[in-house]
Each structure stands twice: as C-alpha cells, then as structure tokens.
Symmetry: C2
Subunit: 214 residues, 2 copies
C-alpha cells in the first residue's frame, strides 16, 4: 500500500509516519519505483504499537524507541527486556527535592516487610520514594497511610502480568507482552481508578440535587 | 524571603518560578521596594505542589493550572472538584483509532457486572476503552483477560482514596486530598507495580547466571 493508505489505515498523519521512519521507530517501506514506496501490514501493526505507546502510554518518542528496540532485539537477554520495560515510566522523577530520605526509608520498610526481592536500580523505587517524599513535604501524612493498599493492588496486578508473560509463546511474544503490558497497563489502571473513584464517591458523598459529580 | 531563597528552598530554578507566577500557578510575592519582592512559606508549599503535579504526576502546565484552580476555588461544588481530578489524566487518548467499539463494549460489560455507577463523561472511560482497543488491535487478547484483576485492584485503591477524602477536615482539605491523591496516586501505583513486577519475574523466571534482570 502507498503511504497515504498506511496513514488512513493507522490513523497517523503522513508527515508523522515519515518522522517515525526517519527516527527509526518504523521500518522504511520498499521502494518500487523512483517516486513510490510500498508499505504492508507489518507497517500498519507497527504504527499502531507506536501510537499506543505514545498516545496512551504517555511515552516520549525516545522512550518508545527504547522499548521498541527491546521488542526487536532477539538477542537481548529476557531479563534485560524486563529491565527496559521497568524503565519505561512515562515520567521520571527529578532527583531534586527528594532530600529527606523519608520516601526511601518507608519504601525499604515496605519491601522488607513483604519479602520482595528488588534490585537497587529498579526504576519504580525512585518514583515510589519520590511520591512519598512529596506527600510528606505537602503535609499529607494521611495519604502515606494508603501505601499498603497500593502495594497490595500492585502485587496482585503484577502477579497476573507476569503470569501472562509466562504463558506467551516464544521469546519475541514474551518480550512484547512485558513491554506492551507494562506501558499500557499503567494507563489501564489509571482509567479504571478514575471510574472506581466516581463510583466510590457516589456512595460516600451522595450528590445534592444541584450537584454534578461528572 | 527573596526569590533566590525561594528557588533554593523549593528546588525550582528562578526563571521557572517567574514563569509559574506569570502563568498564574503561583501567587506573586509582595513588592517591598522598587527592586525587591518578598515570598513566604505559602510560596514554598505551592511550588512543591506545582512540581509534584508536573514532575511526578506528569501533568502539563495547563493541566496543573486546572487542578490548582480546583483546590483554590472554595466556591466550587465538591463534585466538580472530583470531576476536575478525574480529568487530570496525564495522557488523554486520541479519539482516532478507537473505531471498533470493542473497548467500549467490554468496559460497559465490566461496569454492569460490578454494578458501578459512573457518568458517561467520566474521563477514565475513554482511556480504559482505548487501552482495550489497542490490546485487541495488537492481537493481544491475552492482555485483555487481565481486565478483571485490574478492576479489582482499582476498586480496592479507590475505596481507600475516597475514605481518606471523607476523613480530611474541611472542604479545602478534601479537595486537596482528591486532587493530590488522584494525580500522585497514579505515579505511586506505577512505581510499586514496577517493583512488584521484578519480584514476580524473579520467582517466575529464575535468572540464569549470566542474566541481569535489573
């Protein structure tokens, strides 16, 4: 198919398709004549993946490139692919501000209590510690008390995530499952949490006649 | 304090402080002489909040401005503040691509099954449906099977989130709890999920001697 059809099939504007090809996120098409390049179904699928990572997963172009490289590189040890996915957090916390060590201490206690085995370099550590630091700096000790509930929820979700990886057939599919599930799973949880918030708020705070919770 | 001290106390560069003041995210200081403006502890606290929303919560400047306005506006009905927080998703899904209606159908079924009461305009609906659509378009039906586990986790977390709101003293604190907890809670869960992933992967896939999961 021509680039115009690839664009309409994938919902990605032609200029953006060209940008992704230039950046190496999507493979070049096959040049069939001086002024024509042909694309196929693999390009459609790849563009969908790129858009899902960027639009829904909130990754930057550079972040999407890194996780796509992990999917593509068959020689990459599986553990490294898991590591790349772990680093695919859309937002990396600035190191400034996290000076008290409170978040790091609370997180260490949580990890020890649960007997979790987690490397020092796991990207989730910095983000979790930073949120705890922020809650503390904002004087919101009450929000820190929810840590155990969040950890329980994360543990239950992670167990299913990794189970799906184990069931995926073959190395390439396993890596794709890790990367896609890690990036889009954040968005899935955020969406469901907003829905569950509204439902819980409706029971906890019945809406007055003039109110509008939506 | 002078702007230089405000900058070092909050970890926000002077130029960025000036930008936030210009954009209305942070109140102006008090002009005490022709070339001096004084700031106080309320400015330090506000800058911390702005940085937490932007750095950790992944909000844009416009998004941070909207949720800060919800915290500031005492006249805003509480339900509207909940709504603003619900719309604070760092990444809003593009409408393109979600053409099959598969995600919408699966989500409706989930909501009906659980007896959840959720407005059509809840921002979590579009995001959740989009992730399901993406999984389907990528041929990952296996990932869609995890929906119930994610919904259970979101429900448990949301219950505690809203409970904390109910316990917060006074209208201003309740709004702050909703907004801060909604935005930073996404980051907290994402961080803990990365940690729990590594722990679960270590049991499921014992690391070979040369492997490095970190």
């Amino acid at each position: 198919m021509k680039i115009s059809e690839l664009s309409s099939r994938s919902g990605v504007p032609v200029a953006t398709v060209k940008f992704y090809v230039r950046e190496g996120l999507v493979a070049s098409g096959e040049r069939t004549s001086a002024n024509q390049v042909q694309y196929d179904e693999t390009h459609v699928a790849r563009l969908r993946l790129v858009r899902a990572f960027i639009d829904v997963g909130g990754l930057s172009v550079a972040g999407a490139k890194a996780v796509l490289a992990a999917i593509d590189d068959e020689s990459l040890p599986f553990g490294v692919a898991v590591g790349v996915a772990a680093h695919s957090l859309p937002v990396l916390p600035a190191s400034e501000g996290a000076t008290t060590g409170r978040g790091k201490r609370d997180l260490e206690a949580l990890i020890a209590e649960r007997g979790w085995i987690v490397d020092e370099t796991n990207a989730g550590r910095a983000l979790t510690a930073r949120v705890i630091d922020d809650y503390a700096a904002l004087g919101r000790e009450d929000l820190i008390t929810s840590l155990a509930t969040y950890a329980d929820a994360a543990e239950a979700v992670a167990k299913v995530d990794i189970q799906l990886v184990a069931e995926a057939a073959g190395r390439a599919d396993q890596t794709a499952t890790v990367v896609i599930g890690t990036v889009l799973g954040d968005a899935l949880f955020a969406g469901l949490r907003r829905i569950a918030h509204e439902n819980a708020a409706r029971s906890q705070f019945p809406v007055p006649p003039e109110g509008d919770i939506s």
